[in-house]
Symmetry: C2
Subunit: 389 residues, 2 copies
């Protein structure tokens, strides 16, 4: 197979979340897509697979068209979170320094061990956000990472985002299976798994890894009547498979989220959503991070993206806290505030004030948060904001 390179022009000024959805989505057109990268005004996709060149060009063009169409009616931001903090000098990508010093070690593609000053920064960022949430009355919860597939199904996640899900299975019970698996995998020296001896064992995953920290808490409200507003906070390990878009601490397969989840009646939840947006604003402003808080939509692959995106934007359902990455002029979503309206109240038959309960959440991705700190303040701990020491 020879490599094919497809370049498609892209309108300037598309919103950042849409550009990320566009780049990430390319890897899901076909297994043969090896890279997708954006430069101002154009998207370049490399392909090495079974499809003829015209077909892959057609797929890329159609996908870009679909996504550009969904950007047509981007609303003006109604929450004033534009251009927080002061712009910084370019600097350089901090990741090579962090890995050279051994502060960030990639255990497997997209999963990182942090140590030294970077681990302390990670703890400090969590502590800062957590303390702020506790001061607003949030109660702690311990959030699991292993979920029932039925949770994702009923939440509607498989329809829009099955690509991002990590599926979990175990070996089938039986001494022969175990012995065969042990023998096949004992001698090898690489990072792959030999399953030839136990082919049927992988047929049925019985669990999934949580792609969003709030899901198990929202399910736990099943059938309940909420007579008062609840706000909880927890730290969760969250997992999203990103295919070729996986990239260092900016976009990893496993990451840590400091999450706040609110449930109650529609008025209470809408009020709290505004509070969470203010908390997000004051947090990044206390840290001194150059950020914008902007309307956004979730990435929807293989579904009617345009209409879902319009729906999320029209109702102002999602806001991203996007930190500047001065070294390449891009921005990184370090957190988001999401209004679910009555989606989960309907899913899990939870009620408040005689109606389906409303909910919203805020999550900060701690690895992205500290990567943005290093990108803006440098990789020297003495240069990091005092509030994070």
């Amino acid at each position: 197979m020879t490599e094919v390179v497809v370049t498609v022009s892209v309108p300037p000024d598309l919103p950042a979340d849409l550009l990320e959805t566009m780049t990430g989505g390319m890897y899901w057109l076909d297994e043969g897509v090896t890279s997708a990268s954006l430069a101002p005004g154009r998207l370049t996709v490399s392909y090495c697979g079974r499809l003829p060149e015209e077909r892959i060009r057609e797929l890329v063009t159609a996908e870009v068209g679909r996504l550009v169409g969904s950007a047509a009616d981007q609303p003006a931001p109604w929450f004033d979170g534009s251009s927080l903090g002061t712009a910084r000098s370019p600097g350089s990508d901090p990741l090579p320094l962090l890995t050279d010093r051994g502060w960030a070690v990639e255990e497997a593609p997209g999963t990182w061990l942090l140590s030294g000053p970077l681990a302390r920064l990670h703890e400090a960022a969590d502590r800062l956000i957590c303390d702020r949430l506790l001061s607003h009355g949030a109660e702690p919860v311990s959030l699991p990472s292993l979920l029932s597939p039925g949770n994702l199904r009923r939440s509607g996640y498989f329809e829009s985002n099955a690509a991002a899900v990590n599926y979990v299975f175990h070996l089938r019970e039986g001494r022969d299976t175990l012995a065969g698996f042990g023998r096949a995998n004992a001698g090898r020296q690489d990072d792959a798994l030999a399953l030839e001896s136990v082919p049927s064992t992988a047929a049925q995953p019985d669990a999934v890894l949580s792609p969003a920290a709030c899901l198990p808490y929202l399910r736990s409200l099943r059938g309940r009547i909420l007579d008062r507003l609840s706000m909880v906070t927890g730290r969760a390990r969250v997992f999203r498979y990103e295919s070729g878009a996986t990239a260092g601490l900016r976009r990893s397969r496993e990451f840590t989220v400091r999450e706040a989840i609110v449930a109650g009646n529609s008025e209470q939840v809408q009020e709290r959503r505004l509070l969470l947006l203010s908390v997000a604003r004051s947090l990044v402003s206390d840290v001194g991070l150059a950020c914008r808080i902007v309307p956004a939509a979730d990435p929807f692959f293989a579904t009617d993206l345009a209409s879902l995106r319009r729906y999320q934007l029209a109702f102002g359902l999602k806001h991203e806290i996007r930190a500047d990455l001065p070294f390449d002029g891009s921005s990184l979503a370090i957190g988001s505030v999401n209004l679910h309206r009555d989606h989960f109240g309907l899913t899990w038959q939870a009620e408040a004030a005689g109606e389906p309960a409303w909910s919203c959440c805020m999550g900060f991705g701690l690895e992205r948060f500290i990567f943005a700190v290093c990108a803006q303040f440098g990789a020297e701990p003495s240069d990091w904001p005092a509030v994070l020491r």
Copy 2:
């Protein structure tokens, strides 16, 4: 298929870790084993599968014999951790109360959401252990849960414990796969996954979930020369598939570990291992938990258990902190201290003082820890130890 019940007599006074290995191991004799339970002097196994009654009886008897044989040379404890705290009145199993109050909600078999006072107890237990470790100079690390299969292979985990591992895969890239999967799973109402439309997609897991918190840190020492002792601490989500032995907060598939990991030369590590044992003793004594600290061995299925167990016991490699569960007279391992000797130094070519580096670790399972607190002090927060409030 009709149910077969096999009862085998078991010598009295077998060590608790061995009894757990025995019960858990029964589920791996064959997929048809539906339950395995111990009463004083006998083990009862129920079976509903394809094997004839004589064959399953033979398998159970052989397995029990193998395990009993491995107990023959249990050494006398050399670390004085016997009978800490005072025995308590029986009380009752706290789990039904905790679930009735909504403080513990099972999201999927073996994975739990904690909220309310139980989540605060979970935080407090972590904080108590973490602060103690920090006061002894431990440095924080952030430990991932998603590991490379190669890590487990080279650590020797697949040879002895592949049964406990959770394997992770993602859908293969391609719009047809995604669309098919979305359609097959959108309409259903149960907790299972439909993979018929994408049968080949599950063939190749590319990651595993960490069955022991220390593994990614130890791998990160690869090729290094350790010129001083290192001691780190992190909180990790850890995953072990336990088949039919999965049981509430006592034995869950996903759990939280507060871990300390030490690496250095053999003298330094042996000294620190003693320190960790003392820290463990003072922690449970400050909480007032009735416990014993006893020599133990890891569960080894489908391998030469007797010799591995003898090896671990002879070198005093593993100690368990076992809390009394007064309601049923049993005990629960809430933590362990493990001396790895030069196993990981050899595996990852890490050196100290010109020799393969030594390492050891201590881990407390936080859900087991708080379950033991509730079992001994009751489910009322006002009765919990002051040090955990």
